[in-house]
C-alpha cells in the first residue's frame, strides 16, 4: 500500500486501523482528519472519523439523510461553529496546519477552504461582478485592476464568463438558477481557496444545469481539492475519484469511487449504493 504504487493520493480502506492511520504521514493529503467527533449539545452527530482527503481530486461524501455528512463538511471549514451548541474533538490538518489550533481564526480557515451551498445564494443587493469580488473587497482588496482580473478569471473557471461577460453589472438575481449556482462557485473561487467544499451543489437544479456543474467539478479538480456532499449516487459515481460512505455519524467505508460502487467491502455500503436502503 505504501511507496511507488501510490498514485497522487492516499487511499485508506476501513481495514486500516486507527493505529496505522496515525503512523502514516501522508504528504499529498490536502486535509488529514483524525478522530473527528462533532457534538450538538449532548448529541454526537459525528463519531471519530478519520480520513485523508487527497489533493487535486474529488472526494464524494454519501449517506442517508441525518448521517452527519453535512456536519462533516462544515467541520472542514469550521462553519459548524455557527451553531452555538456545536463542539468538536479530534484533529484536522490542512496541508499540515492544524485548523483548530488555538491561534487560528475561523476567518483564516474559511479563506483557505471555500464553500458552495445547496441553495444558491448570490447577494441580492449586488451585481454579478460585485458578487464575484465581494470576498476580496470585504477583505480589503481595493485595486480595480486586480478585481477586474479576478472577476474574469473566476467566472471563466466557473464556466460562466461567456454567458455574463456583457452584463457584469446586472443584478445577480437576474440569472437563472443554474447560473446563480455557478456564480456562487465563481464567488468562492475568487478568494483563491485551496479546498472547495460543495454541499449538494446541484440538488436544486434541473438535469442540464446539473451536468454543467458536474463538468465544472471535473475541470476544477485540476487546480483545487474538492469535497462534495451528494444524495445523487450517479453524481458521486460520475464526478468523484474517492467516495466516503457515512451512516449514523460513522464513516463506514472510504475508498476509490470505482471500488465503492463496484465491490464495496461492507455490506451496508453495498446496500446503500445499490439503493436497497437510504
Amino acid at each position: 500500500m505504501e511507496g511507488q504504487s501510490m498514485n497522487a493520493v492516499q487511499v485508506l480502506s476501513p481495514a486500516v486501523t486507527h493505529q496505522q492511520i496515525m503512523e502514516q504521514k501522508p504528504t499529498n493529503a490536502a486535509l488529514a482528519i483524525r478522530n473527528l467527533s462533532v457534538f450538538f449539545g449532548a448529541n454526537e452527530v459525528l463519531k471519530r472519523v478519520s480520513i485523508d482527503i487527497a489533493s487535486n481530486a474529488v472526494t464524494a461524501i454519501i449517506g442517508p439523510s441525518g448521517c452527519g455528512k453535512s456536519t462533516f463538511l462544515r467541520a472542514l471549514n469550521r462553519m459548524h461553529e455557527l451553531n452555538p451548541e456545536a463542539r468538536m474533538s479530534g484533529e484536522i490538518r490542512l496541508f499540515g496546519d492544524d485548523i483548530y489550533a488555538r491561534t487560528v481564526e475561523p476567518v483564516i480557515v474559511r479563506r483557505r477552504v471555500g464553500m458552495v451551498f445547496q441553495k444558491s445564494n448570490p447577494f441580492p443587493t449586488m451585481t454579478i461582478s460585485e458578487n464575484v469580488t465581494v470576498g476580496l473587497r470585504l477583505n480589503g482588496v481595493r485595486d480595480r485592476r486586480v478585481l477586474a482580473e479576478r472577476t474574469e478569471q473566476s467566472l471563466r473557471m466557473a464556466a460562466l464568463w461567456d454567458e455574463v461577460k456583457d452584463r457584469l453589472h446586472a443584478p445577480a438575481i437576474s440569472l437563472s438558477g443554474g447560473q446563480q449556482q455557478r456564480l456562487c462557485i465563481a464567488r468562492a473561487l475568487a478568494v483563491q481557496p485551496e479546498v472547495l467544499l460543495m454541499d449538494e451543489p446541484a440538488s436544486a437544479l434541473d438535469p442540464l444545469a446539473t451536468s454543467k456543474i458536474e463538468d465544472l467539478i471535473l475541470e476544477l479538480k485540476k487546480k483545487y481539492t474538492i469535497v462534495i456532499v451528494t444524495h445523487n449516487m450517479q453524481q458521486a459515481a460520475r464526478a468523484s475519484d474517492f467516495t466516503a460512505f457515512f451512516y449514523l455519524g460513522e464513516l463506514v467505508e472510504f475508498g476509490a469511487t470505482t471500488k465503492i460502487f463496484t465491490s464495496p467491502s461492507q455490506k451496508r455500503t453495498e446496500d446503500y449504493v445499490t439503493g436497497r436502503f437510504g
Binding site: M79, R111, L138
Partner: protein
C-alpha cells in the same frame, strides 16, 4: 335543509357584510373629516409669509410659522442623529448577537418603552438635560424625540434583519469575511430598505409629538440660532395658537396643522414607495 333555513342564512350573511362595511366606513371617516377641516380652514392661510416669516406680535395680523417649520426639521434631524444609530445597532444586537435570555429582557424593555406616554419621556429629559443645563433647549427637544425613536427603530430593525435568509450570512462567512463586516455589509445592506422604512415610520410618529416638547424645546417666537436655545416646533406652535383667544392665530394653527399632516403624509408615502419597490431588481 329547508328553504326557510336557507333564507335565514342569506339574511345573516347580508347583515354581517353590512356591519363590516359600516365599520370600514367609520374607520376611514375620521381621516376624511380631519382632512376636510384642515384643508377648509388651513389652506387659505397658507401663503409665502406663513412659510417664511416669524409670528407677529399680539394684535397684528399676518406673519407666519417659518421658525416653527424649520424648528421641527431641526428637531427631527437631531432625533435621527440620536435615535437611528442606537436603534439600528440595538436591533443588530438583538438579531445577530445576544443570547436568547438576554434578548428576551431587552425586547421586553423595548416594548415597555414603546408604551411609555410621551409626556413621561419629556419629564425624564427635563430632569436629565434641561435642569442641569439651566434652560430649555433645542438639544433637549431633539434628545427626547430621539429617545422615543430608539425602541421603535430597534424593534423594526430586528424584525427586518430576521427576514434576511441565513444563507446570505453563511455565504459571506464561508468567504472568510469577518462577522461584523458580514452583518454591516451583507445583512444590513440586504435589509436596508426595511430599516429605512422603520426609521421613517418612527420619524412620522415623533414628528407630531407635542407633550414632551413642552418642557424641553419649550418653543420660541424667534429664530433659534443655537442648539442651546429654546426652539419653536410646529406641534408646539399649533398648541399655543389653538388655545389663544385670537382669530388670526386660530387660522394659523389650522394652517400649521395642515402642514404637519402633510409632512407626516409625505413620510408615509415615502414608506409606501420604498416597500413597494422592495426586493425588485434594478434593470
Amino acid at each position: 335543509m329547508t328553504a326557510s333555513n336557507h333564507r335565514q342564512r342569506q339574511i345573516r350573511n347580508a347583515l354581517t357584510q353590512a356591519i363590516a362595511c359600516a365599520c370600514a366606513v367609520l374607520v376611514i371617516m375620521p381621516l376624511v373629516l380631519v382632512f376636510y377641516h384642515l384643508v377648509r380652514l388651513g389652506f387659505t392661510s397658507m401663503n409665502l409669509a406663513f412659510f417664511t416669516q416669524l409670528p407677529r406680535a399680539v394684535g397684528e395680523t399676518g406673519g407666519g410659522m417659518g421658525n416653527a417649520i424649520v424648528g421641527t426639521f431641526i428637531l427631527l434631524a437631531e432625533a435621527v442623529v440620536i435615535g437611528v444609530p442606537i436603534g439600528v445597532l440595538g436591533g443588530v444586537f438583538l438579531s445577530e448577537y445576544g443570547s436568547q435570555s438576554v434578548n428576551w429582557w431587552i425586547r421586553f424593555g423595548a416594548d415597555i418603552l414603546n408604551g411609555v406616554p410621551s409626556i413621561v419621556w419629556g419629564l425624564v429629559v427635563y430632569v436629565l438635560v434641561v435642569v442641569p443645563m439651566h434652560g430649555f433647549s433645542a438639544l433637549a427637544g431633539g434628545i427626547v424625540l430621539g429617545l422615543i425613536m430608539i425602541p421603535l427603530v430597534m424593534r423594526t430593525t430586528e424584525e427586518v434583519l430576521r427576514l434576511v435568509p441565513g444563507g446570505y450570512r453563511e455565504a459571506a462567512l464561508a468567504l472568510g469575511i469577518s462577522k461584523w463586516r458580514t452583518i454591516l455589509q451583507i445583512v444590513v445592506r440586504t435589509a436596508l430598505k426595511g430599516i429605512v422604512t422603520g426609521v421613517l415610520l418612527a420619524l412620522a410618529r415623533v414628528a407630531g409629538e407635542t407633550a414632551p416638547l413642552l418642557f424641553t424645546a419649550f418653543g420660541n417666537r424667534y429664530w433659534a440660532h443655537k442648539l442651546t436655545e429654546p426652539i419653536a416646533a410646529l406641534p408646539l406652535q399649533i398648541f399655543n395658537y389653538a388655545v389663544s383667544p385670537y382669530d388670526d392665530w386660530h387660522r394659523q394653527a389650522w394652517a400649521g396643522a395642515l402642514v404637519l399632516l402633510l409632512l407626516v403624509l409625505f413620510i408615509n408615502m415615502s414608506v409606501r414607495f420604498l416597500t413597494r419597490e422592495r426586493w425588485r431588481a434594478k434593470a
